[in-house]
């Protein structure tokens, strides 16, 4: 099918693909930031058991967690303008990139909501009562006592979500976005060096994922400093082993599922 394999193309394409990395990162960063906000809003009715809103957030969660991201991209890109037309809003001129960011933000928002709910739930209720008993109000108890601990608990999950999001952005090319995967498609088709292009592409994704993994690991250690000191050296080693296992799971998770759908 393609041209014979030539390793030198791998390096050449690495250089050619790198400029499009900023589009990929733009999608990742903005969708994670918006997603965190969305996640908070969606998690609140669940945390405080607000009757009707809770139903809404459950529907939201089931939709975004129960349908493939690719379908969501299509639905938002092709479906949303149709719906908006009904209320006389023309979004035909809005760049596809915005739709992509919106979809990824809402998609990761669902996972963020679950992450926040679990992490806040993991901080024991007794500390909140203690905060009340020293005279703090609900907001102070949440921001001073619950949030710092919940954040530390959530870091490993958050790291997985960011990395999964990074790899999911490779589907944005299906809407014609020239991010890394999109660019590699063009390069591959034009030069017919398919394997080399995909190798360079994989290298970039891997290096960034790996860097993020390390970064979050450092952050987690910093945030969990109040628990680290008790562990003896042996225990600390076990903790490290546990972490790597978790990160391996993180890598395996996308490989098994969503990317294959493309």
């Amino acid at each position: 099918m393609g041209e014979p394999f030539d390793i030198s193309y791998v390096f050449e394409y690495l250089v050619k693909l790198l400029p499009t990395l900023k589009i990929t990162l733009l999608i990742v960063v903005s969708s994670i930031v918006i997603g965190l906000g969305v996640g908070f809003i969606v998690a609140l009715p669940q945390l405080y058991k607000i009757p009707i809103l809770r139903r809404f957030s459950q529907v939201y969660l089931s939709f975004f967690r129960g349908t493939p991201i690719l379908i969501q991209l299509f639905l938002f890109y092709y479906g949303l303008p149709e719906i908006l037309k009904l209320v006389n809003l023309d979004v035909a001129k809005v760049p596809a990139l915005y739709f992509v960011i919106l979809t990824y933000a809402l998609h990761s928002g669902a996972y963020m909501a679950e992450m926040i709910r679990a992490a806040v739930g993991a901080v024991d209720r007794g500390q909140v009562e203690a905060a009340y008993s020293v005279g703090m109000n609900g907001f102070q108890a949440f921001t001073r006592i619950v949030l710092p601990q919940a954040m530390a608990i959530a870091i490993p999950v958050f790291a997985n979500l960011v990395i999964a999001n990074l790899k999911d952005t490779s589907l944005a090319f299906s809407l014609g976005i020239m991010e890394m995967t999109g660019k590699s498609q063009t390069l591959a088709v034009m030069s017919r060096h398919f394997v080399e292009t995909y190798i360079s592409l994989a290298i970039i994704y891997f290096v960034i994922s790996f860097g993020l993994e390390k970064l979050f690991h450092l952050l987690e250690r910093k945030l969990l400093k109040h628990e680290r000191r008790i562990t003896t050296e042996v225990k600390e080693q076990q903790v490290k082993l546990g972490k790597t296992k978790r990160s391996l799971l993180g890598f395996g998770y996308s490989r098994g599922g969503r990317e294959n759908e493309a």
Partner: protein
């Protein structure tokens, strides 16, 4: 002075407190005794509104809250006038011993950092933890954690400190150090309400003993009266069970 009037609390259909009246004089140490499920802890938690009473009224130091319809400000004031020491210590796990004690002073009392620090160091010294200022709760033993909890309560200079079974979660070996600290601060004239299973401690420290069962106060009075000469049949039964003259009857 603290005055509780007709405090009632139900969990669903189960009425846990059936109208409790209790008066605690300033500087008095009150011990609440009774079997499990008698509502002791619930009563204590109702005082600072960690548990929402269904009915009743509380007056702490001229400040009255009607539990039927308290507004947020009332609850806030109530909590500032009281402090609590928990069975499970409930220290803020991400803060050091010193920060745990300072937290209320900085955030609630809005003291400047230097002043808060100075007061907290002094209090931790008082509970015998002057050398553990920078230790996190996970690095402290149960007894040490509970003493930090007591320092945290003392820091707020409350009208009353509520102790919810402060030694129940501790190793027998560590109970002594915590009771020692409580005994020490009792002598300083701080009003305290203590829910406890430590009978000899209650007898020794309390000025007033309350015996509860089935959501009501069965009997109250001076420790000597309640322990040595209870009037009610239920109280006699209870003390007979737990102090069987050296032999445990099964």
């Amino acid at each position: 002075m603290i005055k509780l009037t007709q405090i009632k609390k139900s969990f669903g259909r189960n009425e846990v407190l059936k109208g409790i009246d209790l008066t605690v004089k300033k500087g008095e140490v009150v011990a609440i005794l009774g079997p499990s499920g008698s509502g002791k802890t619930t009563l204590l938690r109702c005082i600072n509104y960690l548990e929402k009473p269904s009915d009743g009224q509380i007056t702490i130091d001229e400040f009255t809250v009607n539990y039927k319809r308290p507004d947020k400000k009332d609850i806030h004031t109530l909590r500032q006038k009281s402090a609590m020491v928990f069975q499970q210590y409930n220290l803020f796990k991400h803060k050091t011993a010193l920060e745990n004690v300072m937290e209320g002073l900085l955030i609630v009392k809005k003291l400047p950092k230097e002043k808060a620090r100075e007061m907290s160091v002094e209090l931790l010294d008082k509970v015998g933890l002057g050398n553990k200022l920078d230790a996190y709760p996970s690095e402290l033993s149960g007894g040490q954690q509970q003493r930090v909890g007591i320092a945290r309560a003392l820091a707020l200079n409350p009208e009353v400190i509520l102790f919810d079974e402060p030694t129940s979660a501790l190793d027998p070996e560590l109970v002594g150090e915590v009771l020692g600290v409580i005994r020490k601060i009792a002598k300083e004239g701080i009003t305290m309400i203590i829910v406890t299973h430590e009978m000899s401690f209650a007898q020794d420290v309390a000025n007033h003993v309350v015996f509860m069962d089935g959501g009501v106060i069965v009997e109250e009075g001076k420790p000597s009266e309640i322990f040595n000469n209870p009037k009610e049949e239920r109280t006699k039964q209870f003390f007979k069970r737990i102090t069987p003259d050296g032999v445990y009857s099964i």
